[in-house]
Symmetry: C2
């Protein structure tokens, strides 16, 4: 919310049609997310974007086009962030618990407690039935790909770390489930968790994960 306001204030003061497009997309995301597709009015979006209604109709032919554009825009952004974070998955066992917990914090912060991520999650549940093809795509490109990618990363890690995993896909899904366990309740509209809570929650999740999947560490023999 505040993020969008600030951003659109920026855009409002900037020049050029590009800035207006951005401003509209952000305001639209905000309003669609608050009110749902039918509840959102173009006028409201226009006001929040600091733009006239007609401008919106100039850029996006109709309400549905705008909606699609918003979804597409945010999906791209979320996916980009997601895969940049997957790239930081630990590769060795030097500080396994530490590294996995830090990774979990990054994942939660940027892909679960994120404004964009909340938006997608919410819109999936509200308008998912209305636009099956769009969300089919999201399902395959987003969570679907995440699970498989994470499974591969665990497989790689298992070479370097004392992990006893026989089903990497399952382990990946369970890892994700565990690190989200404490965030579920706050859900989509609660207050965002603090940094400390994120750290603590991730640490506990990883600890449980490693108790289930970690082989007893090889004791230093010498």
């Amino acid at each position: 919310m505040k993020k969008f306001d600030l951003a659109s204030a920026d855009a409002r003061s900037q020049k050029g049609q590009f800035a207006k497009r951005v401003s509209i997309l952000e305001a639209a995301a905000d309003v669609f997310c608050r009110e749902g597709f039918s509840g959102a009015s173009i006028d409201e979006i226009a006001v929040e974007a600091g733009v006239s209604r007609q401008t919106i109709y100039n850029h996006y032919r109709e309400k549905e086009t705008l909606f699609m554009a918003v979804i597409q825009d945010i999906m791209d952004r979320v996916n980009g962030v997601l895969f940049s974070i997957l790239a930081t998955f630990p590769e060795n066992a030097d500080n396994l618990e530490e590294d996995l917990a830090a990774f979990a914090v990054r994942l939660n912060k940027n892909c679960n407690c994120n404004q964009d991520a909340k938006f997608i999650q919410k819109l999936i549940s509200t308008e998912g039935n209305r636009y099956p093809h769009l969300f089919q795509f999201w399902r395959e490109q987003g969570p679907g790909k995440t699970d498989r990618a994470l499974a591969a990363l665990f497989a790689r890690l298992a070479h370097a770390a004392p992990l006893d995993i026989d089903d990497f896909d399952l382990a990946a899904r369970q890892f994700i489930a565990l690190i989200k366990a404490d965030l579920q309740m706050g859900g989509l509209f609660g207050e965002a968790p603090s940094e400390a809570e994120l750290q603590d929650s991730a640490r506990k999740a990883v600890r449980t994960f490693l108790r289930a999947y970690g082989r007893p560490a090889v004791q230093t023999l010498a």
Copy 2:
């Protein structure tokens, strides 16, 4: 969807204002869930309930009253089912994995893949911000209470079973997270999982849970 249709068909053929109230509540639930609060029209609800629009206004003064009644109705039902299932939590360690998995299946089937449960989850995310007090209530009476109740049940079980749990609340949250791990993606609008999938998923979740929290079973000494 089909469930509601059948139910309202029943109600339509029955007599009495009670049957009409039920029929209206069910149709309203269906339409609110499909369309959201603003997207749902009273006319649509009336048609689906097999009832005239005016009758709806007779029973529930306005749209918002009807909405509240629907939520309240479903919340009661969901909570009832939920606590009846919590009552079936295993008490001893005779068949721990088996019993926990069966419990997980019951929980998933009746509290996660349920029509009512989906409804509440969806409405929480769409209208949660609009009616904070209502959903504050849900949050405390629903998931909040579930977590604590389940924590107590694990504490009781730990007396009889070889479980190494130091934070029962955490374990309860993680148990719930794990048994939902495979259902997350299908999410709110995908096809319902088959019985076999439910069994399999629950079994794997419980296995991981017990690998994390189960002490190595005491070998029969004699």
